[in-house]
Symmetry: C2
Subunit: 196 residues, 2 copies
Amino acid sequence: MNKKEIQEQRVKGYFITATKDLLKSEGLKSVSVRNIADRAGYSFATLYNYFKDVKDLVFLCVKDFREECREYVDTRTTTVTPGNKRLKAIILAYMEYFIQYPGIFDLFFAEKLSDISGKGDTSTLITSLLEELCAADWDYCIDMRMLTSREAGLKKAALLYGTTGLLTLYLNRRHPGSYDAFFKQATHFIDSQLKS
Amino acid sequence: MNKKEIQEQRVKGYFITATKDLLKSEGLKSVSVRNIADRAGYSFATLYNYFKDVKDLVFLCVKDFREECREYVDTRTTTVTPGNKRLKAIILAYMEYFIQYPGIFDLFFAEKLSDISGKGDTSTLITSLLEELCAADWDYCIDMRMLTSREAGLKKAALLYGTTGLLTLYLNRRHPGSYDAFFKQATHFIDSQLKS
DNA sequence: TTTACATTTTGAACACTGTTCAATATATTT
DNA sequence: AAATATATTGAACAGTGTTCAAAATGTAAA
C-alpha cells in the first residue's frame, strides 16, 4: 500500500537521521544498535524490522554524506578559477570535510562492508566521489590542451590514492603530527601531482 | 630478579605469538582476549597480568611484523638493480606483503591506538617502514644526480600516501575490483611517481 | 461498539566483547 | 612443614549484535 510505504520510509528516516547524528557527533565507535534506537525513540529490536542489520543501516548513510560533502565542496569552490587552481581547492575542501568528521571517513574508507554481494555500488559511491567533484575541471584542462585524457586519468588515480592515504595516516596514525603539518603535506602533494 | 624477568618475558612471548598467529590466519576481527588466551594456553584473565589491555598487546606485534615485512621485501629485492628499478620492486613487494596479510594492514593503518601518550613511537614504527626500506635506493639516486634531495622528499611522501590509499581502497572497498587491476594500478602509480 | 484479525513494537534471552577482582593454586622462603 | 609471596583463574559487570515470542497497537468486519 501507499500509506504503508510512506510510514515505513518515515520510520526508516528516523533511524537514518539518528545514525547520521551519532556518527557526526560521537564517531563510528559510538554507533550501536541501542544508541541509535534511543536517539530515534524506538526500542533496539524495532531497528530489525526496517534494516537487515546495523551495517546495512550505517552504510545507507553514505548516500546522504556523499551529498553533504558535495555541497560542502561546491559552496567553497564555485567562485575559484577553473582548471588547476580549482582542482586544488576542490581536493583540499574534500579532505577538510573528512578532517571535520573523522567518523564519516571511518565509514567511507575503514569500516568493512558486511556482505560483498549487492553492496558493490556503495563502494562505487564512495570511490567515485572525488572523481565526480573534479570531473568538470579535468575536462576543462583537457579541452584547454593542458593535459591529455591519458595524463588526466593517471593524475586522477594518484590523487585519489594519495588523499585517501594521507587522511588515513593523519586520522589514524597522527602522521603528520599536527594539522598545520598535515595541511602543508596535503598542499605539497596536490601541487606535485597537478604539476604537468 | 633475573629469573623472574626471563619467565615474564617468556609468558609475554606466548601471548604475543598467539596474537600474531591469530592475526595472520583469522584477521583482526578474530583477535579477542579469550581467543588469544586459548591459543596461548592460559585463562583470559592471565593476559591482564602481563599487558595493561588487549590493544597494548596487539600493538606490540607491530615490531615483529615490521621485521617480517622487511625480510619479505629484502629477500625478493636484493638482486634487483639499484635505483628506480629496485625502488619499484621494493614498493611492490611491500604492498604484496599486506595483500597477503590483510589483518596486518588493518593493524598497521586502520586500528585506532588506544592511548595517544607513549604510543607515538608505534605510529612512527609504522609510517617509517616504507621509507626505511627505500632509503638506500633514494640515496643512490641522489648520489647519481638523478634527483635532488628535495625532489626525493616529495616522491617519498607521495609514494607513502599513494600506497597506503591504494591498499586501503583495495582491501576495504574492492577498488579496483580484481587483483590484476589492482596490480596494474599499483605499477602505473609507482611508475608515474618515480618518473622524474 | 465489539469482536477478529493483521501489523508494529518490544523486552527477554543468547552468544559474544573487554575488563576487574577476590578466591584459588602454585612457588618460594622461613 | 609452615608461612608467605606470586601466579593463575573463573565469576561478575557492562557493553556489543541478533533473534523471537509476547504484548501493544491499528484495522477491518460483524
